[in-house]
């Protein structure tokens, strides 16, 4: 039989054992019937002593609803588990509830219901985003408002005054906007314009009313 997945070189396999270490349960005794199974030598550096149960797949354990039965069991074999397996070969009515649960947990890490259960990951996402937004606002406030050299020229009062003069002469937005707030007969702004003025802009209002 040719292996489907070629085992990597020895150095890489040895490091991957520590990272992909399965839930070891102590002794590494092997069941009498399971001393050899196909693929043991090739995959044992990565898997350990877990049994390969499926065929035609790469033996990697996953918990998911789309691939419910992976090709390897989850836990390695112990002495107690070996006895349970012998019991399993007999009548299943003799198994107690605890036996059945240990058998399940030996083959699978979590039940499918647990796969569907909410994980609470959204809290981390929102929290990280909030931290980043806070840092952004901090940076803007520290850097943006520090030096008038860095503010654009369109923010200065000279520019704004020239802009308002131009807009009023062109009579833009006569219905809802700036031209509707300007009284063209008397050449001054209507009283509602005072909302938008500060002490500095009031100078430009006077100049506009004087010019026209």
């Amino acid at each position: 039989k040719q292996p489907i997945w070629v085992a990597p070189s020895r150095n890489i396999a040895l490091t991957s054992v520590n990272r992909d270490a399965p839930a070891t349960t102590g002794s590494k005794a092997v069941l009498p019937g399971h001393e050899y199974y196909p693929g043991k030598e090739e995959y044992s550096p990565v898997i350990g002593h877990r049994e390969i149960v499926g065929h035609g797949e790469i033996p990697y354990y996953t918990d998911s609803f789309t691939v419910p039965c992976p090709a390897i069991r989850f836990r390695e074999v112990d002495e107690a588990l070996g006895k349970l397996r012998e019991k399993e070969k007999g009548d299943w009515k003799l198994l107690s509830l605890e036996d059945k649960k240990t058998l399940y947990r030996a083959s699978f890490n979590s039940t499918l219901e647990e796969v569907r259960a909410p994980s609470g990951d959204w809290k981390r996402c929102i929290g990280d985003n909030a931290i980043l937004m806070a840092l952004m606002f901090l940076g803007v406030s520290v850097i943006g408002f520090a030096d008038p050299q860095y503010e654009p020229k369109t923010v200065t009062n000279e520019w704004v005054d020239a802009q308002t003069e131009y807009l009023i002469k062109r009579r833009v937005q006569p219905v809802d906007g700036i031209a509707s707030w300007y009284d063209y007969e008397n050449n001054k702004f209507k009283p509602t314009w005072s909302i938008f003025t500060t002490k500095e802009t009031s100078k430009s209002v006077k100049t506009l009313s004087e010019k026209e």
Binding site: L103, L112, E113
Partner: protein
């Protein structure tokens, strides 16, 4: 079983019975419970209609083989559910 799970529908009771007998022949009890969980969750939003029907159909075979129902095992709800610390 993975191919049955990939299909877009709940399997017929005859298929389920055959799968359970195959589990019995291979002496694998955990696989049978896993398959029953898959069958239950295949119903999706209509689990409350499909699952009792399926349990009616396969109840006798399950009692013959000695497989206990998911409710007895307590696997209809998450059993060992703890939020993963990395996900909080």
């Amino acid at each position: 079983i993975n191919f049955v799970a990939a299909d877009d529908g709940v399997p017929e009771p005859e298929i389920i019975i055959e799968v359970l007998k195959g589990c019995r022949n291979n002496n694998d009890y955990a696989l049978a419970t896993r398959f029953l969980e898959v069958v239950r969750l295949k119903g999706g939003n209509k689990m409350s209609e499909t699952w009792p029907y399926i349990m009616q159909e396969i109840g006798p075979t399950m009692q013959e083989l000695g497989i206990s129902t998911l409710k007895e095992m307590g696997y209809e709800e998450p059993e060992l559910w703890l939020e993963n610390v990395d996900d909080m």
